[in-house]
């Protein structure tokens, strides 16, 4: 694809995009319209006021074209972005969000399989985004850039290589729980949903929780506490955790610590681990179920990444007849369905994590070391995972998870007033301005300035 006319400002012809085979030019009106969308998006992302506002200069050059996009695409066309990117490429980084446009260009290049060009743009980005400092937007851009880099080079930096990394991660979780209500909201709301489902029937005291994202097991501490208090003659808790293959160390830690904690709480406790790979093959047959137990299944969007047939998964879930299925979405998946577009999911994830970083800024003073730890060891791996997911576009063309659950015959269970009160209480304790709790469609949602960060819901067949 050739440029119709070269831009006078464009000193770097290597950056002209050649990756489209269509000669599809948008009219100027469409340009303007799409720039407005971009405007509002950027405003939402709260770009620094100091940044030089970019100008749409359609008259200076004709924009190159990208592959055609869905007309229903909310986001602006690539032409816009390339245009702005051209403008700012030669100039010194003025703190504007031109790097975001470049990020999206990399995404587009990857999507259209032009890896060489992607590398080029990325290397330039590496020049401009060298540190993970600055405003949330900039930090998010840095992490996403790193994630894209990993994607391109095929390295996986998320593994915990050493004990030092593991300690850092545990510390990050601990600190994060201390400054932001996000992790505690996820855990406690889920726990309350579990407890509510148990209290409704006074039948079996045996509880079996199937957890697909156990982490370091922090959620079970408070659950065990509650079980211990509620039952007269010592409670009983059994956990089956489905874990990834490279989690040997964490697994051992979890087992040791949970077992010890349960002993202190005087609860009879068992924990088993099942490899994710095994689960992918055998589904719920890989898990041991015992008659007479009440089964609770904890899921999150992560499961939909690993499992190939989601409908099948939900069906198998039904066969297990769980008491309750608790879905905790702390990745912002609630709104977007699998759109099948890397770019769309990338932008969506970018917005989401920018919000999370903003909320982190509100919770901790600037430059605080705690924030750095949380970002590096907690958020960054999540961002990498999100980018990888978006690139894989596994969920292409599928329904939202909510639709999938409903289609399989599940119905949402109303969360109790206790859960509501607890969430409000938590926010009061956290004392971070900007968070609030909302209910929507049977979910309890933790919002940051109106944007959902964590959504918890309970389901049953």
């Amino acid at each position: 694809m050739k440029l119709q006319a070269s831009s006078p400002q464009d000193n770097q012809p290597s950056n002209t995009t050649n990756n489209s085979t269509d000669s599809n030019h948008l009219s100027m009106d469409e340009h303007a319209m799409r720039s407005m969308d971009w405007d509002s998006i950027m405003k939402e992302l709260e770009v620094d006021d100091d940044s030089a506002p970019y100008q749409l200069q359609p008259s200076s050059f004709n924009l190159p074209v990208f592959p055609d996009i869905d007309s229903s695409d909310v986001y602006p066309g690539p032409n816009q972005i390339t245009g702005y990117g051209f403008n700012s490429l030669d100039s010194v980084d003025n703190g504007g969000f031109d790097y975001i446009e470049d990020l999206i260009r990399v995404v587009d290049c990857i999507e259209s399989d032009e890896l060489h060009l992607a590398h080029v743009v990325l290397s330039q980005l590496n020049q401009r985004l060298q540190t993970s400092a600055g405003r949330p937007l900039q930090r998010a851009a840095f992490y996403f850039k790193e994630a894209l880099g990993s994607l391109l080079t095929g390295t996986n930096r998320n593994q915990l290589f050493s004990w030092s990394d593991i300690v850092q991660k545990i510390r990050a979780i601990k600190e994060f729980s201390g400054i932001s209500p996000i992790p505690l909201f996820s855990h406690f709301t889920a726990n309350q949903a579990i407890l509510d489902s148990l209290s409704s029937q006074s039948s079996s005291p045996f509880v079996h929780v199937v957890d697909f994202e156990i982490g370091f097991g922090g959620q079970y501490a408070s659950l065990m506490r509650e079980i211990a208090e509620k039952s007269a003659n010592g409670g009983f808790l059994r956990v089956t955790a489905v874990v990834a293959e490279d989690c040997a160390v964490e697994t051992r830690l979890v087992k040791e610590n949970l077992t010890q904690f349960a002993a202190e709480m005087k609860i009879r406790f068992q924990i088993e681990f099942v490899l994710m790979k095994t689960f992918e093959i055998l589904s719920f047959k890989a898990i041991r179920f015992v008659d007479g137990e009440r089964t609770v299944v904890l899921i999150s969007p992560a499961i939909f990444r690993r499992v190939i047939g989601i409908a099948e998964f939900v069906n198998n879930l039904g066969r297990v007849s769980p008491n309750v299925v608790v879905f905790v979405d702390s990745e912002g998946c609630t709104e977007t369905a699998g759109s099948g577009s890397f770019r769309r999911e990338f932008v969506s994830a970018f917005e989401f994590y920018t919000m999370v970083l903003e909320s982190l800024d509100a919770a901790a003073p600037p430059g605080d070391l705690v924030k750095k730890i949380v970002e590096t060891f907690l958020l960054r791996p999540k961002i990498s995972a999100a980018v990888e997911t978006a690139a894989n576009r596994r969920s292409a063309g599928q329904m939202t998870w909510r639709e999938m659950l409903c289609a399989a015959g599940m119905r949402p269970v109303q969360l109790s007033q206790f859960a509501d009160f607890q969430a409000e209480c938590l926010l009061e304790k956290a004392q971070v301005r900007g968070f609030h709790v909302a209910k929507r469609q049977g979910e309890l949602v933790l919002c940051w300035h109106g944007r959902a960060l964590v959504a918890t819901s309970a389901w049953r067949f």
Binding site: W163, L184, F216, R225, D246, T251, L253, N257, K372, K429
Partner: protein, 288 residues
């Protein structure tokens, strides 16, 4: 929010305030107090008559003290009495309305009856410091007030319970994470100790080897395990990017970095450089 109902409502319908003396019925209808400045006691009966009269006259906004006096036909009731009572009545209604609008918790039974009702409007005034009158017109309102108050108390109780439980849960989680952290740190130290021992042994060996050899440029030095594996390189780069986080964490023992560098040694015992590692495997780990 709860101000309309907050203070204690007399449950038996009697007046909330008692003067020095007792109630002395002055005449058939009016009850006056016996303190130095005799004041009219608005008994429930009297109040009901008042309310009826007001209703007849089209509501508290339409009725005037004069017309009420005429309608009620109670001897000894002065305009002055009625003026103040009517004012309080109007205020009380306002209070009740406001409190119901603002609060979702408190159900003001009077409100539900007041809105557009013509039959039995009633008044409930909370006894504030300045306000000496508490009106409870009928037992129905008493029940309603009770129920509302119970509801309020129940919610307060539940919220307190939630707070208490939440505190326990937060503590449990914090305690758990702390112990996980400690165990992990301890594991580092244990390993570091093991490494240190191993490293010391290796150093001795290599020194010995140097002595044994003829002092030429024996490449034995290169066996000092300084060549990191690919994965360690990646880690090092990553840590370089995050060096500010790393360097300030003083609680991580220095031996941890020692361990990291010489991980290759630990894995293979003898050989120097290990191949690319795909994951962390503990020598004695076992799943489950």
């Amino acid at each position: 929010m709860y101000s309309a109902i907050r203070s204690s409502l007399p449950l038996d319908g009697s007046m909330g305030e008692y003067s020095d003396g007792t109630n002395l019925p002055v005449d058939a209808c009016l009850v006056l107090t016996t303190d130095p400045k005799p004041r009219l006691r608005w008994t429930s009966e009297l109040h009901e008559r008042f309310v009826d009269a007001v209703t007849q006259l089209g509501g508290p906004d339409k009725a005037t003290p004069k017309t009420i006096m005429r309608t009620m036909g109670v001897k000894g009731l002065t305009l002055y009495h009625l003026k103040s009572h009517l004012q309080k009545f109007r205020q009380g209604r306002q209070l009740c309305k406001e409190s119901t609008e603002n609060s979702k918790d408190v159900s003001c039974a009077a409100e539900s009856q007041d809105t557009g009702s013509s039959s039995t409007s009633s008044l409930r005034l909370a006894a504030q410091e300045q306000n000496e009158y508490v009106y409870v017109s009928s037992s129905y309102q008493v029940t309603e007030a009770l129920r509302a108050q119970m509801e309020v108390q129940r919610r307060l109780h539940e919220q307190l319970e939630v707070q208490r439980r939440l505190q326990l849960r937060i503590e449990a989680q914090g305690k758990y994470l702390q112990s996980v952290l400690e165990k992990a740190c301890k594991a580092i130290e244990d390993q570091a100790v093991a490494f240190a021992g191993l490293e010391a042994a290796r150093e001795e060996l290599s020194e010995l080897a140097i002595k044994v050899s003829n002092g030429s440029q024996v490449p034995f030095h290169t066996t000092k395990m300084t060549v990191p594996s690919l994965s360690e390189l990646a880690v090092a780069i990553e840590h370089k990017n995050n060096c500010s986080a790393e360097s300030s964490l003083t609680s991580i023992p220095v031996s941890a970095t020692l361990m990291k560098r010489h991980r290759g040694v630990f894995r293979n015992g003898e050989s120097v450089v290990v191949g690319h590692e795909t994951g962390w495997v503990m020598p004695s780990s076992s799943l489950g």
